[in-house]
Amino acid sequence: MQDHLQAHVLAGDVVMLRAGGLQLLVYQAEIETNDFLQQHLMPYQQDFLILSDAVLHAKPQLYIAIDEHMGSQQTSAQRFLLTKFFGCDWLWCWDDVRIMLDVKLPIRPLPARALAENSPLLGLVELDAPTFITSAPLLIDYLENNLRGAHV
């Protein structure tokens, strides 16, 4: 195992997703919809999760907030930008969403020694802050693994 991967370039239409101090980058083609949060959300005891006020409904909508501060208190409408990835019913909450078209960004490799086995992170690019490259399927898998045992 080497601590460095080969350098590559990320090219195409991408979307920066910011949650607290964390910035992620995914390909735009992986995103089905972007929208503003339309309702109040209630905090939930499980990390990464916010449940909507529709908790009394038979099938409440799950909202995912991956920064720990995002789900720590009741959340007002318009607080978050929401993203829905293709193939996933969850709505993901972000502080900021920025679409960037036709980019060519040099990828900084991540040291393999730093990454957990199921890490969804693929590399790093420098925008206004270090930004991790990921993909929707990897993010979803990672969250599903971390949500095992949650009563959702």
């Binding site: 040291p111 990454l115 790093l124 270090p130």
Partner: protein, 147 residues
Amino acid sequence: MSNNAPSAAWLLPVCQDLAVAVPLVCAQELLEHPKMIAMPSARADCTGLINWRGQILSCLDLRATLARAPRANMGSYAQVLAFVHKGGEVAYISLSLTSAPYVVHITNNMSYPLPSDLASFAHILPAAVMVENQVVPILDLQQLLLN
């Protein structure tokens, strides 16, 4: 029993009752209050990443690696270390430290057994030397990177 212990080494404080030694030549730079890149889904002993001269390095907390304490936030220092793989490639890694490392001279070239509570870490601490009347394990950087 003799070993290939260095005659001078950097002593890296891990916690109050433990320090590890690395060969003098391994130390590249000591960063004070390093700017850390927080990284989700990091391994249990990784405090994050640092950008060192354009290279993204993992920053490890040896307290967590050696099961002395849970991983903590970045310490006051990051010691950037380098070593040569068997293939000749130079690799870098950084360690998060709460206090500054310092150079020690090893006059006793004897190898000492690891303290029993560190026996399970013999793969990264293959030998120990006596420094200032303390048994100090020698850190194998290549194995640390591989494990």
